[in-house]
């Protein structure tokens, strides 16, 4: 059996949703060994076992939280050198991307980012990904020692396995590991409602909203629908909303039950991040906007008129959020 390392992350003290997805994928490919480098690692070993890890390497040094990427990359690289896994899987998160980049550069491992699937191929592995705004799918064959694959969140449905408790192996942070960039503070932006990735309804805005202040309309609508607010790259680049809100190729993939695109033209770089939604509703002034080619219901009109009317209509029907 192939040995598959899964770089496993926590959100808070729980196994993160994307790590559950990646562990699920990994057990289709071989024997799964999870690596958890986090001060709270010990609390997550059982959950990693439930998702298929037979062995869990844990490191609980507080340096993994205090410093960005470098200590974790050094510890991961040490483990890879000791165990020579056939494949290393990561969820494509802010931290994992940096840790993967640094560990791969340290050891000379190839990396495929943005994978949506991984399959066994010719004694090794191949990663599927989507390019050019999701218009084409490519399959990339991996070679060389311990190739690394970063999987986009929501590519796989997480399913627990029936395995028993995993073997837990504690690993020490290499003393020589450079610490690098230090986290001085964590600022949590005030937020209500579900996250963009978890939300069953996503209400997104683009240039057609004309002014950042008009995002308040989206906030209000999202609150009524128990949804989250997303954005196109154009308005993120314009500084209206932070990068964390960006849906698309360079940004997040969302798969809600309903995606409401407001004043978004629907460039491929955006639609690749949302075309997996069950239902899509679009409001745009331009009848020829590409978003109308992929939506289930399109309204050709000014989002700044339709949105307030929609909010009023929902309220009149007794929807109160």
């Amino acid at each position: 059996m192939a040995r598959i390392f899964v770089f496993t992350e926590l959100s808070g003290s729980e196994l993160s949703p994307v790590s559950q997805e990646v562990l699920t994928k990994a057990r289709q490919l071989g024997d799964v060994e999870a690596v958890i480098l986090d001060p709270q690692a010990a609390g997550a070993t059982a959950a990693a076992g439930q998702f298929g890890a037979q062995t869990v390497y844990i490191g609980a040094d507080k340096a993994y939280r205090e410093f960005v990427a470098q200590p974790a990359a050094a510890a991961l690289a040490d483990l890879v050198e000791q165990h020579h896994p056939d494949l290393i899987l990561f969820g494509a998160t802010y931290d994992a991307r940096d840790i993967c980049a640094r560990a791969s550069a340290k050891l000379g491992l190839t990396v495929v980012a943005n994978a949506t699937d991984v399959e066994a191929q010719g004694g090794g592995f191949a990663a599927a990904s989507s390019i050019f705004g999701g218009t084409q799918n490519v399959l990339t064959e991996l070679s060389g020692p311990s190739p690394c694959v970063l999987m986009r969140p929501k590519s796989v449905t997480a399913e627990p396995a029936s395995g028993g408790p995993p073997k837990v192996v504690e690993v020490a942070l290499p003393e020589s590991a450079p610490r690098g960039a230090r986290r001085l503070d964590s600022v949590v932006a005030p937020a209500s409602g579900p996250t963009l990735e978890e939300a069953r309804v996503v209400v997104s805005g683009g240039r057609g909203l004309q002014d950042p202040a008009n995002f308040e309309l989206l906030e209000k609508l999202a609150a009524l629908l128990h949804g989250a607010v997303g954005a196109s790259r154009a308005v993120v680049d314009a500084g209206w909303v932070p990068y964390a809100r960006q849906v698309g190729q360079t940004g997040k993939t969302v798969k809600p039950d309903l995606y409401l695109a407001c004043g978004i033209s629907g460039a491929m770089q955006h639609t690749v991040g949302m075309k997996g939604a069950k239902h899509i509703v679009a409001i745009n002034r331009d009848r020829d906007a590409p978003i109308f080619k992929i939506c289930d219901l399109g309204v050709v009109g000014d989002a700044l008129k339709v949105l307030p009317a929609l909010i009023a209509e929902l309220e009149s029907r007794g929807v109160s959020g």
């Binding site: 802010y94 190839t110 495929v112 799918n137 190739p147 990068y243 939506c295 009023a312 209509e313 029907r317």
Partner: protein, 259 residues
């Protein structure tokens, strides 16, 4: 202080990219080639830190000969010099091979700070900057939505799922910036004229001490083996808003049991 910024020439992202059906390499001769829009934020960030003093900004790129255009654009915005690494043997480089080449060029330029965008708009792996940092033994401060340099330290606000972390490191360091971190300036006519006479270096792989076996397709342990068109979603009903659009959407939401 010297600040290096990475720039990349990419096919116009508003068009549809294409891979060569046999080589599986990017077809570069169709459509307009432009400066990656993400890079303009990196250039602006470098110029803002450099200010008006004796600080200098050097724009570094790896790509075909034609990529000199994006270096000239960075110069027209204000970069003082440029470095282009262009070599047939670099074709087919993966992220790690690319990082090897760029790290060698950065090392030679000896900047105090390297700035790049978070991910390129075409390849969007987001791996190269942190890999360069590892190869140079520098800290990496990524996903910056705010950036400042004070003395020998760099501090950023690093995007997180919930907000941001304040992250600090000693220089030299690598920083990646997100879109919207600043408002990139437009090149002025004076800048465009001046850019034509600014120094451009074109080191060979040998000048950079790079073993050709570690770059290009030869140095990349991955190969595209299949390309196929993705399934496209079908469109549905589209109506003109005659004042009843909101009602129609509300009806649809009720149909879906969202409300």
């Amino acid at each position: 202080m010297k600040i290096a910024v990475l720039v990349k020439q990419i096919p116009d992202p508003s068009g549809v990219g294409k891979l060569d059906p046999t080589t599986h390499l990017l077809v570069r001769d169709q459509g307009e080639l432009v400066l990656d829009p993400g890079d303009s934020y990196g250039i602006e960030a470098a110029l803002e830190i450099a200010g008006a003093g004796e600080n200098q900004v050097v724009a570094i790129s790896m790509g075909p000969e034609g990529a000199v255009d994006v270096i000239r654009k960075a110069m027209a915005m204000g970069a003082a010099e440029g470095v282009l690494i262009s070599d047939e043997r670099l074709r087919g480089s993966d992220a790690l091979a690319t990082a090897r080449v760029l790290a060698a060029a950065v090392k030679k330029a000896e900047p105090d700070l390297l700035i790049a965008c978070t991910e390129s708009t075409d390849g969007y792996t987001g791996i190269v900057p942190a890999a360069i940092a590892e190869l140079l033994g520098w800290p990496s401060l990524t996903f910056a939505k705010h950036l400042e340099v004070t003395g020998s330290k760099v501090q950023i606000h690093r995007q997180t799922p919930e907000g941001h972390d304040v992250v600090e490191a000693d220089l030299p360091a690598v920083v990646t910036v997100t879109g919207g971190i600043n408002e990139p300036r437009y090149p002025t006519l004076k800048g465009i004229v001046a850019s034509r006479s600014r120094p451009l270096e074109q080191p060979s792989l040998e000048d950079l001490g790079i073993d050709p076996a570690t770059v290009g397709a030869a140095g990349s342990a991955q190969k595209i083996v299949k390309v196929e068109p993705a399934a496209q979603r079908e469109g549905g009903e589209v109506i003109e808003d005659d004042g009843s659009g909101a009602q129609r959407i509300a009806d649809y939401l009720a149909e879906l049991k969202v409300i």
